[in-house]
């Protein structure tokens, strides 16, 4: 029998179409910013549409982790812990994407791969905090304690996200401020013309939908892992107690 298409399959197809269109929007539709001095910096500026997309995904991952951590601590439902764990992993993977794509933009624009600018430093700390979240979870064996500990950690780790967002507004930095006012010290800043703005909005929506596809898939992995653990436990119990264990709950 043919498998029916669910909402996830439909969302995945929509995401794939938007990703393809996003190439056109970011590379052809969006013009080279006229204020940038050299050809190489004008071309490198197009990285911004994907750098910001990665940022949307990482930020949504961390925000979802924050919300799911609160929901887990209130309800103690394992589902929210699975969501929190999945979202944190997505946050780390695409947080690394943000740092890598930013570094590739910085080389032609700032003439360096990396500098300890406030934005870059806070962004790196944020990614490391969530990487530590994933590693520290494994240090606690009891699943309930692990989820409780992770829930509290997730709430505090999220503090680094608004600090990273505000870092270019609070401290002296060379990172461009795209939203909410200019930064006179910024190097590589560009004006948001109508085409650049449209491409940026399109990119944000595309990566938002890609995020939800990834989150749904990753939560599925987390729930399947829990099912495997439960089945293993039942098999072990049956084998060790002479097949007297209670029937498995689905």
């Amino acid at each position: 029998m043919r498998k029916r298409w669910g909402w996830l399959e439909i969302l995945a197809v929509v995401a794939a179409i938007l990703v393809a269109l996003n190439f056109y929007m970011g590379l052809i539709y969006a013009p080279d910013p006229s204020n940038l001095q050299t050809e190489v910096t004008r071309k490198a500026q197009h990285i911004f549409y994907y750098h910001m997309g990665m940022n949307v995904m990482a930020g949504l991952g961390m925000f979802t982790n924050f919300l799911a951590s609160i929901l887990y601590l209130i309800t103690r439902r394992r589902f929210w812990d699975a969501v929190a764990r999945s979202a944190a992993e997505i946050g780390v993977v695409f947080g690394i994407g943000v740092l890598v794509s930013g570094s590739l933009w910085a080389r032609p624009t700032w003439n360096t791969w990396w500098t300890w600018d406030p934005r870059l430093t806070t962004a790196t700390i944020t990614v490391l905090l969530y990487a530590a979240y994933l590693m520290l979870r494994n240090a606690v064996e009891d699943p309930e304690r692990q989820a409780r500990f992770a829930g509290v950690y997730g709430i505090f780790a999220f503090l680094s996200v608004p600090i990273t967002f505000m870092s270019i507004r609070l401290w002296r930095t060379i990172h461009p401020t795209v939203f909410g006012g200019g930064n006179p010290a910024a190097k590589g800043a560009f004006a948001l013309g109508p085409h650049i703005r449209a491409a940026m909005q399109f990119s944000s929506i595309t990566f938002m939908i890609v995020f939800f596809v990834f989150l749904a898939l990753r939560v599925r992995v987390a729930l399947l892992e829990e099912r495997v653990n439960a089945l293993r436990h039942h098999v072990d119990t049956r084998l060790s107690q002479g097949a007297e264990a209670e029937p498995i709950r689905r």
């Binding site: 071309k43 994907y50 997309g53 994407g97 890598v100 990834f214 098999v235 097949a243």
Partner: protein, 49 residues
């Protein structure tokens, strides 16, 4: 242009590698569940027979 190309390759390599990892993990976990269910059924039948 070289930096733009490098960034696009890095971003989409990361994205697709992560997607493939998740899909592969779903596939292997589903297989493991099927095997464990068969094993559980066999132990149940063995205890009855």
């Amino acid at each position: 242009m070289i930096f733009l190309t490098a960034a696009l390759i890095a971003i989409w390599l990361l994205t697709f590698a992560y997607l493939l990892y998740i899909l592969q993990r779903i596939h292997s976990l589903e297989q493991e569940i099927r095997s464990l269910e068969v094993l559980l059924e066999e132990t149940r039948q063995a205890s009855q027979g």
